[in-house]
Amino acid sequence: MSKLPLTLAVFCAAMLIALPLRAMEVKVAVLRVDRVVGPPISRLDAPPADLGFAGALLGNEDNRTTGAFTDTDYTLKTQAVALDKAGAALDALKAQGFNLITVIAEGGALKALSDQAGPEVLLLNAGARDETLRDVDCRANVLHVSPSRSMLSDSVIQFLMWKKWTRILLIHGSHPEDTLLAENYRKSAAKFGAEIVEEREFVDTGGARRTDTGHVMVQKQIPVFTQDAEDHDVIIAADEAGVFAPYLPYHSWDPRPVAGSAGLRPVSWHAAQEAWGATQFQRRFEKLTGRSMREEDYQTWLAMRVIGEAVMQSGKTDPASVRAYALSEDFELAAFKGQKLTFRPWNGQLRQPILLTDGRVTVSVSPQDGYLHQRSPLDTLGIDAPENACHAFGG
């Protein structure tokens, strides 16, 4: 009779000792919505199975190491689903108590998820580059850590202006995302004073992307396709669908450099980046995951670190507090790009320098010197507040 209360008392005492006073738990999910696509032109570009998840894993490790000093525990769940299962997966994650969710998806899928998620969830966009998601279709429950298409196109045109390669032959693909990207290059050219002297469309006629000795045909096709263009300094390829751009370098009729979707590419990250302490960051990633870092991995790492930083500095873990801190003037994030990254409060876009790479080394980093802005040179990349039609952020 007297034994039970004693056992209870001991149990309660043990519980008290086991639970640190200020312990906080942060549950973060990464939801990747996979689409069915053919193999890439280069097999080097084939996506690894853990694309994006690996970056989140490193971000989670970084947050856990820091959390050990602040009594904060981080849990990470990663999940890949097909497009038609994305909604159900989001509901399941919510039911399991995940309300900080990083999403790697195409623009349409992300928009649907953000409408379904509701205000009690914060989504971090680590994939979609669509301008409209940061503009007329912006949602208060989405923060964008991946750069937008206009940030990427602006970063290329700024570099071309610095080079004085101002006459552009724009070659775009026939897919909707190619059309959007081409439109961004037109706007960027107009914004910085470059001239698109001619445009050509490379129509995707379907068929296998890889054939034995395919290079023989490419060597004959591309010169003809680029023949007799208006005088130009550089070719810009707008080929987000990945159909033709890698074939342009060395095959164009006129000997001209290629930028955009091939040649000099604007990226949020690449595996050869070493400046600003990036070497250690690359090594930590490679040691943890056994491969080199992709853009999607950098972007999910960013998303994890945004959450980690907001939780540590604000001392709160709920989505509303994380969002409020991230959008506040106090937020700043060091992310191996030589300056602090902050959010644009008018549409939830993370400001960041864009790396320009030839695939081997960092050729340059935009914004280029001399492009000034009253707030930050980073705001010379992408649509700026006055042109922005996003109202979900109180603007």
Binding site: T65, T66, R283, A334
Partner: protein
Amino acid sequence: MLRSAVVLLSAVLMFAAPAEANKVFVTNERSNNVTVLDSQSWEVIATFPAGNRPRGITISPDGKELYVCASDDDTVRVFDPETYKELHTLPSGPDPELFALDPSGNPLYVANEDDNLVTVVDVKTRRVLAEIPVGVEPEGVAVSPDAKTIINTSETTNMAHFISASTYEIEHNVRVDQRPRYAEFTADGKKLYVSSEIGGTVSVIDLTASEPAIAKKINFAVPGILPEWLQPVGVKATKDGSRVFVALGPANRVAVIDAAKDEVLEYLLVGQRVWQMAFTPGEEFLITTNGNSNDVSIIDVKEETVIRSVQVGEQPWGVVVAPY
């Protein structure tokens, strides 16, 4: 007669020398060598190979051993400061960048960025005494004047960790701004300065209470320089507690701070991408490494002016001055 003449001559010589000539050692990150300067003539007197990607550099209190972090060799190389011959290496863990020597000359505390560890190395037995788990990407290391506390800054965790030098346990963590690089104690041990490169601030941590706490954050502003480029890295405090100098990286300036008020007095224009700094033993001069202009700037500490610059190797990174 002869004897008194010798005595007289010696006395004249003693007074004629305003400051001792010391050797100044500068690591050149890109050219993989160390440049040796004379602190009186400011001439380059030697250059010697120092392994791959030499960065952090320090010297033993007796001036007999020069320690260089050869980052790409994953080791600390030990050189004879007289002959410039390599004596041996020390186990440092991978990619050592910065370190600090105990005031007694042993042990050496090395930050290992890849493994989130501070490695404690006995420089006599050349053994690892302990590995202390810290935050993500440990960078700056400092030892308190009483040798009881080791400070480590972790660049991605954004903290200064206060580690007991007797138990190797972390006793306190102080949150600072983004990407903390360097930690510097005042000579009286009452204050600690921590620079945050990306945050653009120097945190002044008060050590007189029971727990360390941030007393102030020093901000920087230079007309005509974008705020993004005001990136504090190296920090040096004078022994008399009157001044603190802060290297501002790509802003090409060294900030002079009144240490009584912790306010910026002025900015001195130096070379490009100013990184680390070292005083001559009497603190007459402060030498700064300028990574993008391949030179060092010499600051007259009393006058607070830059008196000259000297070309060294490619991408100078660290600097130390021999005590004798």
